[in-house]
Symmetry: C2
Amino acid sequence: MRRWNGWGDESVNVELPESAIEFLKNELGPGNKPQDISLDKALSNVPASRLPEHQLINTDPLERLRHAVGQSFGDWNAIRSGTIPTYPDGVAFPLNEQEVRELLQFAKKIDAHIVPYGGGTSVVGHLAALKGDKPTITVDVSRMNKLLDLNEEGCLAQFQAGIKGPDLEAALQAKGFTLGHFPQSFEYSTLGGWIVTRSAGQQSLKYGRIEQLFVGGEMETPVGSLEISNLPASAAGPNLREFVLGSEGRLGIVTKATVKISPLPEMEQFYSAFFPTPEQGMAAIRKIAQQGIPLSMMRLSLPEETISTLTMAGESKVLTLLDKWLKMNGVNEQKCMLVYGVTGSKKSVKSSLYQAQSIIKKYKGVLVGTKPGQQWVKNRFRSPYLRNSLWQEGYAVDTLETATTWNRVPETIQSIESALREGLQDINENVFAYTHLSHIYPHGSSIYTTYLFRIGDDPDETKRRWEKLKKAASEAIVKNGGTISHQHGVGTDHRPYLENEKTKLGMEMIRSLCHTLDPEQRMNNDKLI
Amino acid sequence: MRRWNGWGDESVNVELPESAIEFLKNELGPGNKPQDISLDKALSNVPASRLPEHQLINTDPLERLRHAVGQSFGDWNAIRSGTIPTYPDGVAFPLNEQEVRELLQFAKKIDAHIVPYGGGTSVVGHLAALKGDKPTITVDVSRMNKLLDLNEEGCLAQFQAGIKGPDLEAALQAKGFTLGHFPQSFEYSTLGGWIVTRSAGQQSLKYGRIEQLFVGGEMETPVGSLEISNLPASAAGPNLREFVLGSEGRLGIVTKATVKISPLPEMEQFYSAFFPTPEQGMAAIRKIAQQGIPLSMMRLSLPEETISTLTMAGESKVLTLLDKWLKMNGVNEQKCMLVYGVTGSKKSVKSSLYQAQSIIKKYKGVLVGTKPGQQWVKNRFRSPYLRNSLWQEGYAVDTLETATTWNRVPETIQSIESALREGLQDINENVFAYTHLSHIYPHGSSIYTTYLFRIGDDPDETKRRWEKLKKAASEAIVKNGGTISHQHGVGTDHRPYLENEKTKLGMEMIRSLCHTLDPEQRMNNDKLI
């Protein structure tokens, strides 16, 4: 059973090693125990539904509680502490596009809002019910999870858009294919959710972002169905796919999607290397991307993340040996760990590896084989579970991300990290922040920063700390001209900053699309724009 | 000096070999000599300008004649025969975005239409002045041709958008870079033109379409400047770049564009192979694309194009030898020529070549070395010149293109070719049509068909023949679910078919963008939508 107030399945606990807790005590001071409420208490907070009866809509308090929030830090703090501001009045689980249409018509008839709900994994506030007098119907598409068509020759698969990552991969892998889209939320997030938030998977270097994988599909909107045909490319005017991508439920509900699939690779391996400095590591990954060497992923941890990753792993003996060896090779305190993957035929993997490693060595990177890479693969979807464990110890963890051109990457990282580290100076609290680059483009990189702080004495204080840090970091991103989101989307958390990225005129263009497809403003209002 | 009524520089004539003329006589009958008018006559047809004076606007009849049409077959027939329906009232050559803004303000003040003009190479009718009482100002951006910024480390270059292909490549190659965008119109077409028509270059397999190369920029619109910042990727809502791409002058005039550039490759080679049948050729290129083998281009000519390419080349002795050799290897009448390119480091070229050739051989392709590939490179921008030569001989030539998913490629080709071949049966005229696939995607392919027919006894009859053929082929494309354009755009020629691709609701979305940025409908009306 999935946790009602945290990440993942209730049976899965990722324990923190002693060394990690010691490390955090040193950096942040002893943790503040959280004041979580019980499920019974949480259920008692759910107000009466304002919806008339409808056969597709469930008004049970447990479903409404489970769908009231996503996984943004604000959501997390609210559900844990019993301070959720709004609840959906009911949750529907349509089986197909006819039922989605029926729900949209019902919403119109009773003048209700609609919140589309995929896997509930949003970390930027996409899922809250609307404030005000009108009721909210949350439309959970998780039962729309079928493989509808597989075109093996043409490498295309059509799915109902509510299918979750593992089910989608299982259906494809059984036939010898993969989508290759592995965001950290993979276990729960859905194909439709990936599309409307412009998701990027961990191996986007090979497979592309969801923008490159989504070929066509159907979206139910308040004014009718929008069909987007499957074309490999088109020069016929603006691309409608691009209106659906990133639409965050504002234009409608994606019901079907056709995606590009790839034959399962002959082989896949993950390797690791350590660079003496961030500058050398960044130069190497930039070169690899610019030369188009076909790796399947690269992730460069900057010094603080490198140290904290190794510390969290908890194997001190191995670490001491590794450190010794790295020092002998000129890699010291400023070490940066690179994990990189090769995926494909034996021949292409060999060639890619040779080319990539030549560049790594040119920039004084020390190759350390496959161990840390294997460790990364093993844990690739486990980081979100650490939030549960850290919370129990009295620490809050959140992540944020941006992307920018190479010339701005170093100062943007520094600016974000400084904003976070100094963000709670007013109350003499430390913030521990570290960064990696994990989506590498020829002309820029994503920047992914994790930050930890002590939770407050009460939920309001915890919220205040998070909001202060989030604001400071977002302003640092905007000031440096980075995108307000490389992979998480906008939601409510990034909404105040969107105009900086899109400009006033750009916002008007987006708004005009919203008005055209949702003239009565029924769809996921307050999110995105 | 550029031809006023045809393709290319007046000094360049691409002669047809005798064998080609013989071939056409056999297929179509003897050519009908055209009834072209003189430049003096053409100038006398240009009506008086309706524009008040403006320092940026030239109302000279020669400039207005030169900017009255593009290179669509309808344009060609009209300018040759003196039947151009509309002329711009003046042509402006702004130097920068301030002057573009000034022109847009002037158009508003005097209630005029604007037609943006890049290289004048449109083959689908983007450039005609508007019918009716309002005057038209054509804004030729060719003087906006500067390199503004080169970020070598980050592989980004910013240009004024009126720069032409050769100037852009010269500026980049002098610094060791290339954009790698080589459409057939390369000699004259502009960066801004590529962007607003979603152009695809001949080596898009390596470098991507212009959609993948265009990072950010500025567009002057009737309601203000739209700025799109340079980001390597963003999940923050709909992507504004995608509103500009394919906008065909309806939303504004692109003044600056930042593009991804690549280091000049260590080496580049073009090879060739012949397959016994189209089925084997298509299976091989599909496999190569699906396995992601990093070639820089593939072009598979189907049997008719293979034969006509070899015949047009005119070296009959070499051909006889080639034919003998191919026959010995099981390649006969149904032979399909593949030209493929490898571009990159020595190491990657070697690896790509090995992988690609393994697949070619698996599908019974016969490798024939580099000769036909070199021939293709030599002639890669020369095909448009053949239109001049063929016209003199009394033959009309036009091309059309689409793209579709692999399962539909064979029947779409057959459907287009049949529509063309049978298109003039009512007057007992033959049409010669042949096809190649030149933009190969894992999930589909472009289809590029060339067709030749005899020009009519008078310009109206020539126009009637072309319109009949164009309509028949466009309907065949639409019936088969292909895009109405893979690389040429929409303009006026494809406009009647756009709704089939975009749906009614999609058209409303595009229209809402036009209304937002151009509320008075001043920008390139009648084109695209």
